[in-house]
Structure formats: C-alpha cells, structure tokens
C-alpha cells in the first residue's frame, strides 16, 4: 500500500495543468466505478449472496502518456470489494512502460495484466462486456489473484501470414505477489477446513517464476479468430499453521491453458473457450520438526463455455451463455466425491445490458445453476440438516457502472 501511495502522490505532482502542456507530455486520466448486487436462492456465492449483498464493487483510475514517439507510460490504481476479499483496499493494478517499435514487435515491462483467454485482462472492467459475471468456468474467482497480472516484462506483436490472416503473439515472464490474505489463500484455507476439523492460516505464498505465452490467429474470414494462451507457474504455499501442526505445501509448476474461438458477425458475437488446469501438490504434515505424514494430490480441472451476444441497437445488448466447470475432468459426475454435485458447476446465464449513455451502464442477469463445484466451503457452513450445499440454485446479479 505504501508503494501505491507514493506512486499516487508522484503522479499527482507530475501531472501538468493545461497551461504546462507545451512543456510536459499530455497525461490522459480515465477511470471507472461500478456497484453491484448479488442475490442467490440457496448457496452463498462469491459473497453472502443468500441474504443479498452489495459487497460487489470496483473502481479504477488510470494515468497514461506518450512522452516519446512509440513509448507509452501508464499506471492504474484499483480497488474492489468481493465478499470477504478486496475490501476496497487500493492496489496497483498495472504500471507499464510499453515501447511499440513496429506493429510486429513491441516491448513492455512493469506490472502487466495477463491476457489469458479473451477476457481475463478486462475482468474488472464491467463496461467491456454484456454479462456481469464472466463465465466462471474459465474466469475463476478463486484464481483471480494468480491470473490477474505479473511483475516482469515481455514482447508482443502482430504480423501477416499469407493466405491465412494475421497472427498476434505475446510472451511475458516474471513473478507475482499473491497476498496471504487474498482470495487464493482464503480458498485454500476454506477447502482444508471443510475436510478436517481444524483452523488453519496461510502465512506465505511465493511465486518463484511465471511464464505466459499466447498466439491469436485472426483469420481472413472476417471476424473469426482463434487464440491459445498458456502459462507455467512455479508457486509455493510455504507453510500452513494449525495449532501446533505445520503443513508445508509444495506444488509442482502448474500449467494453465486456455483455448478460445470467437466469431463476430454483424451485431452478433459467438464465443467459446476452454480452460485446463493441471497441478500436482505435495503436503507434508509436521509437529515441530517431526514429519507425521504426507500426501500427494493431482488436480485436473476443466472449464468451458459457449456464448452468444447480440447488440440489439446502441442502447440494448443481450447475452446468453452456458458454462460448465469440473473440479476433476476424470471424474465429471463426482463418483469419488461427496456430495457428487460438488464435482461440477453448470450455469445457464441470460444477461441484459442497457447503455444509458456513453458513460453510464446498467445490467441485470439471471443464472440457473446446477452443482456447487466453484463454491467456497467456508461461506457455506453446514445447516441444521448437516448439508452444506443445495444442488440446484439460482443467482440474480445487478450492476450500475460509470466510466470517464
């Protein structure tokens, strides 16, 4: 937070007034604010949605300039609240130095957004899509932190390929800061607490290295593109303390792969994406220095969705998507898990967006959901019947956004 405050102050000082525009490069300032509401019929999702919640907002402000030809310098500050995470704490969303030498080669460094799939880098920016919630099967809230951005550098560009179209690419390398109090830590703590009657606390999450790579084929068939994006992440949850017990969790470098296809036809947009996550983790249980035991766990998650959105006119847009997520793609029906419907989450979503004007947007969407594979156990304590979840449930989301 201190760093963010320093940057904010520094930017405030260096931003020139209009009268100084001749001496300094012009700085563009833009931002957005959104406030949402979630209400679910049964399970709590993302926040305490069963009772209805307003803990669902985002705000961001960015400053950008071109001090030299081809060079872009910019920074965006961001805060959000999403249930128990975010809590409107101001963070540095991105801070970038980007030099575009030619259309086929650009270089950038700093804190960079990760453009997984077609929407990951814009998941916080409500105005850029029709639906409020992105399909959760591919854009997982639990992975939000580890998929948001990295500190490092990379290259990107776009070049023509005869007879096929154009290919754009991006390769990034670096590391990232994942908070021990953030959404990933909270999720891991919840999962372990739900399977054992213990209270745990993650003390540190280290990302040793992070490699991201993507290629997009923009075909000669106007509006049709294919994208592959992937990453290899070397991450360690160094220790988990449990009233005298210590758990060291070592994860093998895990892979995230996203396959995307999109076709834009007049006012329609057809999209389908598939996410594959493979990771292997080894837990060692200690009391003091004495090793009590260990376990190895392999995760093979799968998520995919298909969507169609329609810009009816300049004011109204409509989207439908079907999204499905499986915690283990080798056990889609949950034969090895109790309850079986916690092995998946299948979601039908219908969303309507109304563009009040160029700056204000209001959205409403409804979800019919089967399964609880993406729910957080700690937000859903067992009821009087002993059941934590309800298999079939629905979710209503509303959101009002403003940008400048």
């Amino acid at each position: 937070m201190k760093n963010v405050a320093y940057i904010f102050i520094a930017i405030s000082v260096i931003i020139p007034g209009k009268s100084m525009a001749a001496a300094f490069p012009e700085v563009d300032i833009h931002g957005f604010i959104s406030q949402g509401y979630l209400l679910s019929s049964e399970n709590n999702y993302i926040a305490d949605s069963k009772d209805g919640t307003f803990e669902f907002n985002e705000l961001g402000i960015n400053f950008g300039t071109n001090p030299l030809p081809g060079l872009f310098l910019g920074v965006q500050l961001f805060a959000n609240d999403l249930g128990k995470t975010g809590n409107d704490e101001l963070t540095l969303d991105w801070a970038v130095a980007d030099y575009k030498w030619r259309p086929y080669l650009g270089l950038k460094a700093g804190k960079l957004k990760l453009p997984y799939g077609l929407y990951n880098d814009t998941r916080d920016i409500d105005m850029l899509r029709v639906s409020i919630l992105l399909p959760q099967s591919v854009y997982l809230e639990i992975q939000r932190e580890s998929m948001n951005g990295l500190n490092g550098g990379g290259v990107y560009g776009k070049f023509p390929v005869p007879f096929i179209g154009k290919i754009s690419y991006e390769v990034l390398a670096g590391t990232m800061n994942i908070s021990k109090d953030g959404s990933l830590a909270y999720y891991i703590e919840s999962i372990i607490s739900s399977v054992a009657p213990i209270s745990i606390n993650i003390t540190k999450i280290d990302v040793n290295s992070f490699f991201y790579y993507s290629a997009t084929l923009h075909t000669n068939l106007r509006g049709l593109l294919f994208k592959y994006s992937g990453s290899i992440i070397d991450i360690n949850v160094e220790s988990i303390i449990n009233a005298g017990y210590q758990i060291d969790r070592a994860m093998d470098p895990f892979q995230v792969n996203v396959y995307s296809v999109q076709y834009s036809f007049h006012n329609f947009l057809f999209t389908s994406e598939c996410l594959l996550i493979d990771q292997k983790q080894r837990d060692k249980f200690y009391v003091g220095d004495v090793l009590l035991g260990s376990q190895v766990k392999n995760d093979h998650m799968l998520g995919n969705y298909a969507s169609i959105s329609w810009s009816i006119n300049e004011l109204f847009e409509l989207e439908y998507y079907y999204s499905q997520f499986f915690t283990d793609r080798n056990d889609k029906k949950g034969k090895n898990i109790t309850p079986s419907y916690s092995a998946y989450q299948k979601d039908h979503c219908l969303a309507l967006r109304y563009n009040i004007n160029s700056y204000w947007i209001v959205k409403v969407e409804g979800h019919l959901i089967s399964g609880v594979g993406l729910l957080n156990p700690s937000e859903n304590p067992p009821g009087s019947s002993g059941n934590r979840y309800t298999k079939n449930w629905s979710l209503l989301a509303l959101k009002l956004s403003y940008r400048f």
Binding site: T65, D98, K100, T122, R222
Partner: protein, 151 residues
C-alpha cells in the same frame, strides 16, 4: 384419405424464415455509400496510405509515423461516416470499435484517441496538431490539412 403433412412443414419453414429475416434485418447496419476522406496534419509527410496501414493505425497497432513522430489519432463519432469507415477498414461495428479502444485504455496498452462529434472540430484539431490523422465525409473548400489517398 391421406392427411397432407406439407401444411405442418411449411408453417415451420415460414416460422424459421421469419426468424431468420428478423435476425438478419436487425443485424444489418444502415450505411450510406459516401466516400471516406482521410485528412492529416501538414507535418505528416505521406500522400498515400495502404488499407492495411489504415487498419493498423485506427485500431492502435501502428502508433508512429516515424521514429520521431507520434501518430495523433482522431475519430469522428458521427454515425454515418464512422459506420462507413468501420465497414470498409475494420472487422468491427461501432460498439465493438469503441469497446476495443476502452480495452486498450483500461489494460495499459495505450492512450485513447481523440473523439469528435462533428467534422469542423476534427478538421480544426487535425490542422493544428502535429502528426494528427482522421477521417471525414466531405472536405470543405479552405482547410489547412492534407488529404491522404488510400491505395
């Protein structure tokens, strides 16, 4: 006597045809056939430009004229010329085009172009701004901008 099935089939066909017509009519943007005229500041030392370069410039892939001159991009938001421009040079409609630029702006990939509601404003800005380029639908008689011809 045999009951004729074609009645059922034709009703279904009519329904499907109506549905298709509805979607296609809703999808087809209303466009005029007017020409698009590209104008640039007199400091820009080119007279012709390829379709590929126009596309690269207006979607933010090409941002410099040379190693010493930044492109100052100007967009006319008046619906007829904008729709005509987008149809000819990009794969987007106006909603997708504006969203494309917002994505660039809010993900740290560049600065926003300048948007103008009418032609006199964009001509005035282009004439006074080094490296500026924009498009209009009609060229007034006395203006201090150069016309760039697509090739």
């Amino acid at each position: 006597m045999k009951i004729s099935k074609p009645t059922m089939v034709s009703r279904r066909h009519v329904f499907i045809l109506c549905l298709c017509s509805f979607f296609l009519s809703a999808a087809a943007p209303a466009l005029s056939s007017k020409e698009i005229i590209f104008i640039a500041n007199s400091s820009v030392s080119i007279e012709t430009i390829s379709k590929n370069e126009i596309q690269q410039i207006f979607i933010g892939e090409k941002i410099t004229w040379s190693s010493t001159q930044q492109i100052e991009l100007c967009i006319l938001t008046k619906s007829d010329p904008l729709n005509q421009f987008l149809k000819t040079y990009t794969e987007m409609n106006s909603i997708k085009f504006k969203r494309h630029w917002k994505r660039i702006l809010f993900t740290g990939r560049g600065t926003f172009p300048k948007f103008f509601k009418n032609e006199s404003e964009i001509i005035n800005y282009v004439s006074k701004t080094e490296g500026a380029i924009g498009f209009i639908s009609a060229l007034p008689e006395k203006v201090d901008v150069q016309v760039i011809t697509p090739r």
